[in-house]
Amino acid sequence: MIALLASLHYARWALSALLVVPLAGALAIWPAPAPAAKRIALWVAVVEFVVSLGLWWAYDPAMPGMQVGGWLPWIPAWGIAYRVGIDGISLFMVLLTTFLMPLAVLGSWSGITRREKGYYALLLVLATGMLGVFVATDLFLFYVFWEMMLIPMYFIIGIWGGKGRLYASIKFFIYTFLGSLLMLVAILVLFFNAGRAAGGLYSFSYEHILRFATLPVSTQFWLFGAFFLAFAIKVPMVPFHTWLPDAHVEAPTAGSVILAGILLKMGTYGFLRFALPLFPAVAMQRTVSAIVVTLAVVGIIYGALVAMVQPDFKKLIAYSSVSHLGFVVLGIWALTVQSVQGALMVMINHGISTGALFFLVGMIYERRHSRLVADFGGIARVVPAYAAVLTLVSLSSIGLPGTNGFVGEFLVLLGTFRTHPVAAGIAATGVIFAAAYLLWALQRVIYYKLDKAENRSLTDLTGREWGVLVPLVVAILWLGLAPGPVLRRMEPSARQFITAVRGRPAPAVATAASPGSQRAARRPSASSDGASSGVVADAAVPEAARQASAASPSREGAAAGARTP
């Protein structure tokens, strides 16, 4: 497979193709007749998925850095270029996106009846935006994609959403916009700082900025704040989460799936890629770290508790997202290999399980035009297949061993316990709460008496709905039973992330040289400052990889041991 891909020069065009194909698809929908729109969208999404599958092999787990790149000049005057690449973190985000897109199209098949062309075109543009966020290695490009996906989602919620869609869509837009614009200013400050430190070599390249940015901690604090706000709103972390229930509930099914499955991950991805590696001194500062960990734990518990009392099934799932994403943030800030890998796993799992839950709610809503838990009861007798899938997916969302949900949350708790035992202890109760709210809701929906007449005539899953659910169920079981290959691919990048955050010295030392000093004099000192992330880190790659491969069997053994029920 690797040889085949190499013969196609796959690494050269893969990422760019992933970005261009959906846009081309969106343009192709334009002149097409309305009924053909969804077919075109489905084909494009399937092609995307097939193309992206090659990344699984093209990505070399032995190298933690950016791979499968692409580069084109864009605005040379400002050091902006089209730069893309993936590492072990973005690889899975890309695969998750391309995996969910065809399902999202299929899941909208009968639900979207008005203005179909616009809907599917926007869905495809959204795909480009999301993939762009995950593959961009130029901060300007990243920002453009980050904003670009906002517009299609805004329209998808606002045009095809539920009753409160206008309010939900503008709230979603303004929340995200607020965070991202402050991030924009922070990016610019970084750009100038790195450019001056590099002796007048200005570039928005991620690696360039990572290597040369040397700001005093007091400034870093503000910049970290800007990045943190942008990502924390997107995640969403607790005080910034109020847009989420509105947006999730009002969005059409596919919108909710994409919101929960992919858009929320952009926040945690941003933490992993930008907020922590760029400002490790601030992020790992005791107070900041304590605040973030507290917010994460509060999110876990609060999300679960609020989910428990929701009468609306969709809102229940929306709040459960707040809880799940709390685990991700906790895992990232715990900064151990297991916890970071666990966080990545939760990101993937949450995309699959919560995506599946939203699909299931959407399916029952299409039949019954209600999402209230109280309107159902005993439907397992009428729609047994639906009930079985719903049970399985719920169990995976709870984190039952043998499903994907278990692996991620277990790893997060395991890793966190080493650095933040108290937080891990409290977070563990979140798993219990999750069991409580989901099982309770499950009980009320599919068990009990079949006492409502409308529910007697419900029809079971159609072939198309099976087509949406089967891949998700397969993914749930596969990731639950054999997460090894996935974990192996993540590990070097997770390790590199930890070294980057841990290993960077506090940059107060680095500000000694004045920004205006000579380039020749500046260069060596700058590269030694950025040692862990820059030049020296590249040399240290095989070393880290070897350690990783030595460590992995024992940990996987531990995971496997705990997995047996």
Binding site: V144, E147, I170, I174, L181, V185, L188, F192
Partner: protein, 507 residues
């Protein structure tokens, strides 16, 4: 090409665009006077006006391309890329105003062919403003522009609000001119000259940095300009005047008038007073901050589209002021870039509004656009692009412009002002998005809600080109960036004047 402005020939070449346009405008005036009541006169005047604008633009482009510059003593007319760039933007705005007015005037039954003459005279005034290196030339340009625009804003004599707008604009404009004139007098008292380059040269040797008369003169000058660019707290006239004037005129006022006044301000500050940057930096900082905050917040409360756009143009004056604070060449380049695309997006928005409305469009509420996407998908698309561009959303030229301003602000160390700019931009999402929301997400009030909205071919083509430019330059801004940078080279540090040496002005 080295021009000697002390000789008639040199002066004529240097002022060629203005001369061409003035002569043309006078010819057009005669034509309008002779053929006043003929049915086709108005449309013919428009075409002739476009011809004059094209000639003036060609003359400007020729001067720019030939690398014309001034040798010898400090002159009263600048011959540098900044002037040419602003001239071209002004001429573009004038051409757009003419193009969009043709069908509008016929629809609104305003049969006054002199309308186009006024646009041409206003453009001449603006070009003088952009090129004046002597405070008196600036004042001359300002008055020529203002008087023409007073007339334009009240051109619809049957409309009481139009009359109110014209009168208000005239009174407050005269007030502002008085401030400006008094400032010029004080500056003359302090430095003994009205030529910008000589003023700059006098400041250091005469130790005028803290001289009260110089500072008072500068302050009055700033007040006068702040009136003209509608910066808070000198913006009170703007909403009523923009609201009352015919919509194409409003578009012209909020772009070209602002552009020219701003260009003069840039020239005065960067060329004449770069030696006292520390003094005016604070003033402009606060003007920019207050203008952005107040403009955006009040715009948020507007329900009429036209008034919303009026306040939004105040907010944009704040963004342009932000580009100025650093007093750098990059700031001037960002200013030129932003100005060009601000012109396109604002005129675009006003043009679409003009298609929707009847009788001055004062009553078109944001909700009246509901469902426009269903009946007029292309117009809705164009309006969306204009709104997103005004918002500064990636993919549109407005974003690149805002980004450029942010770059100059953060590069100059004004991080707080940059933060204010982005935060107020978030506020602006609160009034630009409802327009998009109304068009796409709300149903039409009734099936024939937009039935009367016809798009004349001329306006349609003009709009399409503008929207396409906003998108193309949003993705690929390199050419416009290079032009903006070339325009800003007028303020090369080497170009800071000395009386003895000839002034090198690169391009």
């Amino acid at each position: 090409m080295l021009l000697d402005l002390d000789r008639a020939w040199g002066l004529l070449v240097a002022a060629l665009p203005e001369v061409v346009l003035t002569v043309w405008a006078m010819g057009l005036l005669l034509h309008a006077a002779w053929h006043h009541r003929e049915p086709g006169a108005q449309r013919r005047s428009a075409i002739l006006a476009l011809g004059g604008i094209a000639l003036a633009a060609a003359a400007t482009a020729w001067l720019w391309a030939s690398g014309a510059r001034v040798g010898g003593m400090a002159a009263s007319l600048a011959v540098d890329p900044f002037r040419f760039a602003v001239d071209l933007i002004v001429l573009l705005a004038a051409a757009l105003a003419v193009l969009l007015s043709v069908d509008y005037l016929e629809r609104e039954a305003i049969r006054i062919p002199e309308y186009y003459v006024m646009i041409l005279f206003a453009a001449v005034g603006m070009m003088l403003l952009a090129g004046g290196e002597d405070l008196f030339v600036l004042f001359l340009g300002l008055e020529l522009m203002s008087v023409s625009v007073y007339v334009l804003s009240g051109i619809d004599r049957r409309s009481p609000v139009g009359g109110e707008a014209a009168l208000k604009y005239f009174l407050l404009g005269a007030f502002a001119s008085a401030f400006l004139l008094y400032g010029i007098a004080l500056l003359y008292g302090a430095t003994g000259t009205t030529k910008l380059r000589l003023i700059a040269a006098q400041i250091a040797p005469l130790h005028l940095q803290g001289h009260p008369m110089l500072l008072a003169g500068l302050a009055l000058l700033l007040v006068g300009f702040a009136f003209k660019v509608a910066a808070v707290p000198f913006h009170m006239w703007t909403p009523d005047v923009y609201d009352g004037a015919p919509t194409p005129v409003t578009g012209f006022m909020s772009t070209a008038v602002k552009a020219a006044a701003f260009a003069a301000l840039v020239r005065v500050l960067l060329e004449g007073f770069s030696g006292v940057h520390l003094v005016w930096e604070q003033v402009i900082w606060w003007l920019a901050a207050v203008t952005m905050v107040v403009g955006n917040l009040i715009a948020l409360a507007q329900r009429s589209v036209k008034r919303m756009l009026a306040y939004s143009s105040i907010a944009h004056a704040g963004y342009l002021l932000t580009a100025l604070v650093a007093g750098s060449m990059a700031g001037a380049a960002a200013f030129l870039f932003y100005l060009l695309f601000y012109t396109l997006m604002t005129v675009g928005a006003f043009a679409i509004l003009a298609l929707k409305g009847r009788g001055g469009e004062r009553d078109v509420l944001i909700d009246d656009l509901a469902g426009l996407a269903e009946s007029h998908p292309w117009l809705a698309f164009g309006m969306t692009v204009c709104m997103l561009s005004l918002l500064g959303f990636p993919g549109t030229a407005g974003f690149i412009g805002k980004w450029y301003i942010l770059i100059t602000a953060t590069g100059g160390g004004y991080d707080v002002l940059a933060a204010i700019l982005v935060l107020t931009s978030v506020v602006s999402a609160g009034y630009y998005l409802p327009v998009v929301m109304a068009m796409y997400m709300k149903p039409r009030s009734h099936d024939l809600a937009h039935a009367g909205m016809l798009v004349p071919r001329l306006a349609g083509v003009t709009l399409a080109v503008m929207v396409a430019a906003l998108l193309v330059f949003g993705f690929w801004p390199n050419a416009a960036l290079a032009a903006a940078r070339a325009g800003s080279h007028a303020f090369l540090p080497a170009g800071i004047p000395t009386i003895t040496a000839p002034v090198p002005v690169g391009n």
